[in-house]
């Protein structure tokens, strides 16, 4: 059961930047293609490597995630794996039936009804008429569009088309499944349904998965390749590490002022006792106390202490936590037009990774904003464990014996 289904050795592919040149190369390739063309492929003028020297192996039950920014060569690699284009160097060996979720609903004709298009799409995916006849009811139910199945597809919403397309594709029983960013269009319910479907076929299949959605990648992949300009810059089984690197490529240290009425401004922020070897990028150990030292300067007309809301944001720009705001007991004071204070949190258990802070300074019972800033501080949490969730909570496991005794005691006392 555990044979290697996909084996890729030193795969490279080049593309041309200029259309006219590309077409002319196409003519040349047609001519040389006829004679087999065994020559070593060099870069011709205007060409670049879209995929360079990629190697991996994939067994049944494994899922490889391909990540990287737009134009990193992910889709090109998929096209080679799917046999749509030939590589310029290297070799791909694929065993078994290959299914591709690259485009859903291929072959749909907008004029024809959903039911007719199930046959069109199914035929292109390699089903026989008999197979489709057997499965057509199942497909309609899976897509949940029975009511509209005899309506022309051109009147479907894009989500409905994707539903129908996936429902047909889900009937494939591939040994190797190639998934490109196709599931993004459906609504949440449908995306969850798709993943449930993928989960059921995963044990029998080797999957290559391209996505920009890191939660999805971390959820289903056990191997990962981070691509940049056609090359693999990270490869291995540490999915979290690759995702971190992926995010670091987008990390910006820019502070972003969203709202400012000019009455208060942030002078500085730092973390007490953090490792500041890298300037502007403090590192903090998991489980330490967090002490954020703020210094604000008051510009004009601010004779009260505003409220400070500090929001912790993860690398995906998702807010993960909010620090309790200040109250009268906080006892903050403005001295010489500056306001300094420390926000503390004991035993900080954020999981390993890069985070940033946003802040809202507000006044009054409705918390009308005075100043709103994003990315006031980027910092890194250090821990040996790589985990996906934002918090790694300290825990203590113990046998239930002691608790049982407590319960018995409690019951005994009640009597």
């Amino acid at each position: 059961m555990n044979e290697v289904l996909v084996s890729v050795e030193n795969l490279s592919k080049k593309f041309c930047k200029d259309l006219k040149t590309s077409l002319w190369y196409g003519v040349k390739d047609l001519a040389s293609g006829l004679s087999g063309n065994r020559n070593e492929r060099e870069l011709r003028p205007q060409e670049f490597w879209a995929v360079k020297d990629i190697s991996f192996e994939l067994r049944r039950g494994e899922c490889l995630g391909l990540i990287g920014h737009n134009g990193a060569g992910k889709s090109t690699l998929l096209k080679i794996l799917n046999g749509l284009i030939n590589p310029d160097a290297g070799k791909v060996t694929i065993k078994g039936r290959v299914g591709a979720l690259i485009e859903l609903g291929a072959g749909f004709n907008p004029i024809l009804s959903g039911r007719e298009n199930i046959y069109n799409n199914g035929a292109i995916l390699g089903f026989t008429r008999k197979e489709i006849d057997q499965k057509v009811e199942e497909i309609i139910d899976f897509a949940e569009i029975r009511e509209f199945i005899d309506m022309p597809v051109q009147n479907y919403s894009s989500g409905m088309k994707v539903r129908l397309g996936f429902a047909v594709a889900a009937q494939m029983e591939p040994d190797v499944l190639i998934i490109d960013e196709v599931l993004a269009v459906g609504d949440l319910g449908f995306v969850l349904k798709c993943f449930k479907q993928i989960d059921t076929i995963l044990p029998k299949t080797a999957i290559v998965f391209v996505s920009h959605s890191m939660p999805m990648v971390s959820r289903i992949c056990n191997q990962i390749i981070l691509m940049d300009r056609g090359e693999s810059v990270f490869q291995g089984e540490e999915v979290g590490k690759a995702i971190d690197q992926y995010y670091n490529r987008f990390a910006s240290n820019e502070r972003n002022i969203l709202f400012d009425d000019g009455r208060i401004s942030l002078e500085s922020i730092s973390i007490k006792d953090a490792d500041y070897t890298e300037k502007n990028f403090p590192k903090l150990n998991w489980g330490n106390d967090l002490n954020l030292i703020f210094k604000f300067s008051i510009k004009k007309n601010l004779d009260f202490i505003p409220f400070f809301k500090i929001i912790l944001v993860d690398k995906e720009q998702r807010p993960v936590a909010l620090f309790e705001e200040n109250n009268i007991d906080s006892n903050l004071k403005i001295e010489k037009n500056t306001l300094e204070f420390t926000v503390s949190h004991k035993n900080f258990q954020l999981s390993k990774g890069v985070y940033s802070l946003d802040i809202l300074v507000a006044e009054g019972p409705i918390r009308a904003p005075i100043l709103r800033m994003n990315g006031i501080l980027n910092f890194q949490m250090l821990h040996e464990k790589e985990v996906w969730p934002s918090f790694l909570l300290a825990s203590n496991f113990s046998s239930n014996d002691y608790i049982m005794i407590d319960i018995i005691k409690y019951n005994f006392n009640k009597k």
Binding site: L30, R38, I85, N86, T93, E103, L112, N120
Partner: protein, 281 residues
Amino acid sequence: MKLETKIYQKENNFHIGKMLKESLADIAKSRFLSFQLAKRDIQAQYRQSYLGIIWAFVTPLATAFVWIFLNNSGTVRVTDTGIPYPVYAFSGTLLWSIMTEAINSPMSSTNSAKGILSKINFPKEALVISGIYKLLFNSSIKIILLLFFIFFFGVGFHWSLLLFPVAILGGILFGTTIGLFITPLGMLYKDIGRMISFGLGFLMYVTPVVYAIPKTGIMKTVMELNPFTPIILTARDLAVGMTPIYGTYFLIVIVCCIPLLFIALLFYRISIPILVERMSA
């Protein structure tokens, strides 16, 4: 269960025999796909139109009427054709339209499938076959109309009429072969498609479509060499019950076309990945 193994690498495994076998196996395997694609296109074409099938023969009919008018009014005097001129002109334009459709069919099928070619791996030969299905469908409608003409103008039934479909098939074979050779280049450069439709416009006048081959002169030589001539003439002769004079030339053309068709299929098969790369690059 033994799993099928696919290997993709830069070298094409260029064994003609093996590739041809694969190509033919793909054609056999994708029978349903080619049928379904043809059905889809035909259905869609007629669902969005009231006149529907009429469009299939309105162009040859119009060309024929122009020539019938030119001839009857004495503007242009064509040599005696041996059969009523309307039958001659209409059978000519109709056969010609089948030929041009056959030449354009592989390219238009491939072009309209551009979107899925760069996304999904399916037997590409199915596109060619579905094009042929569509051709057969359109041709059969045209043939019915031609039969009407033949009986209406009193040419009547001849046993050779039964061979007429064979001649049509020969014409489709000839056209498809040419079309397949043109397709790869035509997919790269739009010029090719324009050149073809432009060139065919001229070619019609050196083929006995609306007038017979003159008795003497340079035109006679050109028309007799033209490989379209035996196909049009043989088909027409069979339909109206005359002895096909160019029967031998017709057979030569068809026999030459069979190996050429296989070569064209291979060429098509090899060129598709190269085209997909350039289309999606």
